[in-house]
Symmetry: C2
Subunit: 727 residues, 2 copies
């Protein structure tokens, strides 16, 4: 039963009646109220993610013109993460902290970092032709860059500029063991990065050498520019491409266009690896004349939209009016020649009008093709050329993907289809520009495919996804304490509890601080207007998801500090005044108390050091701070007693026999010893009657006590477990 409640809503003086759907009760009642069909119900249970449920696949997709990566789940189609890649992303401080700025600087042609990226077709790293869940790669088409992301923490680790081309086709392609990440230029241009003489225009295929280095939880593989090279290519416009595997291993294939004609080209890139190189823009290049004997041009009968290598590596499947199945072995035997497609044709399969894309699944010799203008997806056998079945859609499908569809072992019963014209039927209006839409299609039945979900991606023009079995990726949940997350190495700027410090040389100030619930240490930083200041902060937490953020009011800086991470924020303190800084992540009930203050003394300031106004304190205020100080002393005494009792307990139970417990105790004792100076300070200020300073330093000492007590109690708990005692 459709239950409506009516409400008189007064908007701009008009009484408008708006129904309120009452959706409780039974499945049938809800379906009736919401207008759902039985087909919808089936789709609903196929995609609904129950609490605690885990998606089967992780999808990654570039946000098109936002320069960031989206991570989402299949079949729930929920978006899990935004990751800065070619553009800044303040939520993780990407492009804001020194470490990520340095990373991006390496992608600068001339000391200007392009803060924009046009990214579409990504690639996952592969081992033996299968996705191995270690890295992802993206190409920035607009600014000619390549990015390597580590899937240990889903972060960008490297961005490099292409030294030959000033534009690229926005696709990254990897070889079967990720020896190379391959990019092609899109529009030819003179290579000298200077000339406007289009008579000198050329294209290039760039092979970025990947040095793999990974162990459990550490993906330190990187692109080695010095071992990378490019192959000169005549001035064709280039776009989609793929790489051989199995019998076609060693070949690189792509689409090329010139003078209204379309070609598939094939390059024996292993020949290029050992071919003679010349230096162009300080980069190794194989001249086309030196490799052309290993390049084939296959003229196609029609404009082509896609080329992909079949999973077992025997065929090239090309969308060009018909789907053309080309024989890779025959292509190989025609290297060095220009031929017509007929000479290497295995099958020509009529699919429908406007075929945009093809993909594969786990069924032997089965492929899928999207016939855009016919609003359908067709399943067919590329070995026999036989059509199996098709699904008619109420939208025009363009790019299609099956999880692991570009590997030697496509997986899954899902197919994702991009819908570039969703605005007409599928979406509420959110202004002149609309989100992107991907449809989830259930392909599990051998004879019938079903469109089951409409996913929205909140930027326009997002497409080119890749999906991987979720369980293939083994993400870490914390870094070793003091890690530069961009390099994976220990940061030289890390600090440990009790060793926080402020160093000054002339007008250069380095703050070595720590973050732990619920304190930023130091809590007061005093500098002079015009100083160049760096906050080097380390998150000391080991608890899962215990991220802290850091920002300084009006200074426009933001860092994200996941457990164990060290990052640095450098700025010129050119604005005088008192600027609160605080943790920007909800980290505990005391989150709002995780704050401090940056004192920027105005130029020409001659007064005393910052004393939080102590010099101007009234008698009443001084008395108040004295009282607070005395109360804090009591708490310090009590906390000290707790610590001592824990220490006694640990000693009595021979904690030193248990190495991990022993290490924790040592850690706790260390922390407190290092806090000694704060104890000295509060005693000193109390002696001088500076009660505010005395109170603040006592508060600081107490914070170290809390940290020490926390570690001590963890040690006690662990010891109890070892001793088999109840908690």
């Amino acid at each position: 039963m459709k239950q409506l409640k009516w409400l008189a809503l007064t908007v701009l003086g008009l009484v408008v009646f708006v129904p309120r759907v009452k959706a409780q009760s039974t499945v049938d009642a809800v379906m009736k109220a919401r207008g759902l069909t039985d087909k919808d119900k089936l789709a609903a249970v196929k995609t609904f993610m129950p609490r605690g449920g885990r998606d089967e696949y992780f999808g990654i997709v570039g946000t098109g013109n936002s320069g960031t990566m989206i991570v989402y789940g299949v079949p729930s189609m929920r978006i899990y993460k935004y990751v800065g890649v070619f553009s800044p992303e303040p939520w993780q401080g990407y492009g804001y902290d020194d470490e990520s700025q340095l990373l991006l600087k390496k992608s600068s042609l001339d000391d200007r970092i392009p803060w924009y990226g046009d990214m579409r077709f990504p690639a996952y790293s592969e081992t033996n032709g299968d996705y191995d869940g270690k890295y992802a790669f993206f190409t920035d088409g607009a600014n000619a860059r390549v990015a390597l992301l580590g899937l240990d923490d889903f972060e960008t680790k490297q961005v490099l500029s292409n030294p030959i081309m000033n534009n690229l086709f926005p696709e990254a392609t990897v070889t079967p063991n990720t020896e190379y990440v391959i990019q092609t230029g899109q529009y030819p241009h003179p290579w000298d990065m200077r000339s406007t003489d289009m008579g000198q225009a050329k294209n290039a295929i760039t092979f970025w050498k990947v040095k793999r280095m990974e162990k459990e939880g550490e993906h330190k593989g990187r692109i080695i520019k010095e071992k990378s090279f490019a192959i000169e290519f005549p001035p064709y416009q280039l776009d989609y491409n793929d790489v051989g595997k199995g019998p076609s291993d060693g070949l690189f294939f792509g689409l090329a266009f010139k003078d209204g004609k379309a070609y598939v080209y094939a390059v024996d890139y292993k020949k290029a690896v050992s071919a003679k190189k010349t230096r162009v823009n300080d980069f190794d290049v194989v001249k086309f004349d030196d490799i052309k004997g290993s390049v084939a041009f296959i003229e196609l009968p029609a404009k082509a939209n896609m080329v992909k290598v079949s999973p077992e590596g025997k065929y090239l499947v090309v969308a060009a009016d018909n789907v053309l199945v080309l024989d890779a072995a025959k292509i190989k035997s025609n290297l060095g020649k220009s031929i017509k497609a007929d000479a290497v044709m295995h099958k020509s399969v009529p699919i429908g009008k406007g075929v945009v894309d093809v993909t594969f699944d786990y069924r032997k010799n089965i492929a899928y093709a999207s016939a855009h203008d016919d609003s359908k997806i067709v399943r067919f056998n590329y070995e026999t050329g036989a059509k199996k079945d098709e699904v008619k859609l109420d939208f025009k499908p363009s790019y299609i993907t099956v999880p692991q569809g570009n590997s030697m072992h496509p997986h899954s019963n899902y197919l994702i289809a991009v819908d570039k014209e969703a605005y007409l039927k599928n979406l509420p209006k959110t202004g002149p520009v609309r989100p992107s839409v991907q449809h989830l299609i259930d392909i599990s039945d051998d004879n019938e495919m079903t469109d089951i979900y409409t996913m929205t991606l909140p930027q326009a023009n997002v497409y080119g996804n890749e999906l991987i079995l979720r369980t293939t990726i083994k993400p870490i949940i914390r870094y070793p304490t003091g890690t530069n997350s961009r390099t994976g190495e220990p940061s030289p700027f890390r600090a440990v509890a009790g060793q926080e410090k402020i160093e000054r040389k002339g007008n250069r100030v380095h703050v070595f601080g720590t973050l732990i619930r619920s304190h930023i240490t130091p809590e007061i930083v005093e500098v002079n207007q015009g100083d160049i200041v760096t906050f080097h902060l380390t998150n000391l937490e080991r608890a899962e998801d215990e991220t802290h953020g850091f920002t300084i009011d009006t200074y426009g800086k933001h860092g994200s500090f996941e457990p164990g991470k060290t990052a640095s924020l450098t700025f010129v303190a050119d604005r005088a005044g008192a600027f609160p800084y605080y943790c920007t992540e909800f980290c505990s009930a005391l989150h709002l108390e995780m704050e401090g203050i940056l004192m920027v003394k105005p130029k020409g300031y001659k007064g005393p050091g910052t004393d939080l106004g102590a010099g101007k304190l009234s008698k009443e205020e001084l008395a108040k701070y004295k009282k607070q100080y005395e109360e804090k002393l009591k708490v310090i005494k009590q906390t000290g007693d707790v610590i001592n009792s824990v220490v006694d307990y640990l000693k009595k139970n021979h904690y030193e026999k248990y190495p991990y417990v022993k290490a924790l105790v040592q850690d706790a004792v260390d922390q407190l010893n290092k806090a000694k100076f704060t104890e000295d300070n509060y005693k000193k200020y109390a002696k001088e009657g500076k009660w505010k300073d005395a109170f603040l330093w006592a508060e600081q000492y107490f914070q170290y006590q809390v940290k020490a007590a926390d570690v001590g109690l963890r040690a006690k708990k662990l010891l109890d477990e070892k001793l088999g005692k109840e908690q």
Copy 2:
């Protein structure tokens, strides 16, 4: 039946078996395979959005530390749009085009734009205390700014810096007719934006005056800084706040903290409007001494987490251990005093441990409270103090929202609860930092609430949403041609078809160009290295969702051009070479052909003008261009014939009698007349034997023809409709 297919997947040399869920067939089979309960099935049909379905509500939420706004739908919980507010967002060119940079510059304290924003609790504009769907407002806590967004196009229209405070509590609050948007500082500090003397620290409440100006599809309302003011506040730490309505209209309420005590304060802000002002930082300020007779301080018995005014305006509902229901009328009669909560207490309702938030729904006197530490949400009557029912959750709820819950007419049977600790149970791992989670809770039943959906938001620490009936917002789908979308006014830089031009004065180059499927005009722009270049582009499309994007390779610039929009991209052409520019939105099948080239001639270049290499063309190439030119001439002739036949037809049928048809015909004729110079050019170059230039200009002329023909055919179609003829 759970159908599994097993696949041998070789990863790093190990054979791993991974099940593939086969999810086709019946609802029962799917439920069994996916482990769903009957409760899950009910939740699935409540949230599944069928093709073409429209959500009941639009939610908006700040992305926390990303400085952008997310728009999403309820109950589908799909994310529809990311909108740049305080941080740059390249997908719409926000922070990249001149118009949005100018907008952001107005939020700069000293010519530096903070490119970061900490944004949480937004507000929708209101009329008579109800959400009217015209504007949304956000506060940037970290950089002390306010933003106004127009919901006509879901874009940021205004960002201003707070002249008094250097930090704000990240909440925006609006008065019942959006007379003011109100912000409070969070941490007190000296106001002079210079001193570090914390003895001078103060807080402030800022009332930004909103001038409302809207008609169908145009929301031109803006904040008027000159009519805004702040109220000085003693150095309390301030956070959550709300504004009175109905009987409490004219009062502003908030939480204040000092020396370990918590207060609700109330200010008669209408008194402040007419109170004496002094100028601070060139801004009107009411001194606390001049208003304190209109301020009440109500000391609370415990730490407070939230204060909200009940929908009818009679009560303040405060989360402070118990939920305290305070009587607004009694508070009003205590203005000028400091009192204990007991003096104004209507009810004190024990809810559970750690009450974080309260909200309201359409039921009379009903409120909801989240008891964080007890993992439950309680429904209760705030008039009688009686508890109704509660839902036990498997997470700890913090902030809770009901659609239109802050208005005088809360709506909906949904409640959204923020879950800050979702990482433990609900989500797959995506590295050390996790997404944010909101749960959708069905509150439609009067006696039982049900948690039905777990939504992920792909940045950490996202909370503070507001929801509105979707149908209250009336978004536009295009701008009047040539609109500066940030001001809503006609852009002085707009261009129309056929009047594109390149203007140069010294080293300053202005390109006035147009975008229409599938051409960027002009297609060649030639400048000298070091020139300051601006591309002013207008999207001439009128079709829905026919957005074009624009970028220039390696120049890191990006603009988004929705139908009718004019925007400008300024840069220094300091990198010599030939740089393709192109449309970054998939706009039609010919999208990839929507491109052009920027020629930046190196410094000291003395050669001829750019001729795309014509000077170096071989005989064969020249012959090829000659042939292409001659073929293009034939096409031009054919297209001209079509245009002439349409013109004849229109004339014969007296098109001039129909004003709109007449206007279209005039438009078509105009376009072609303005293209005359391209015709002259191709003829000239043909005469000189410069076949490449001749071909390119002929191609350009042809593009104008196509546009003219398109307009002409639309005119014909319209005329046929008027004449009642079949198409």
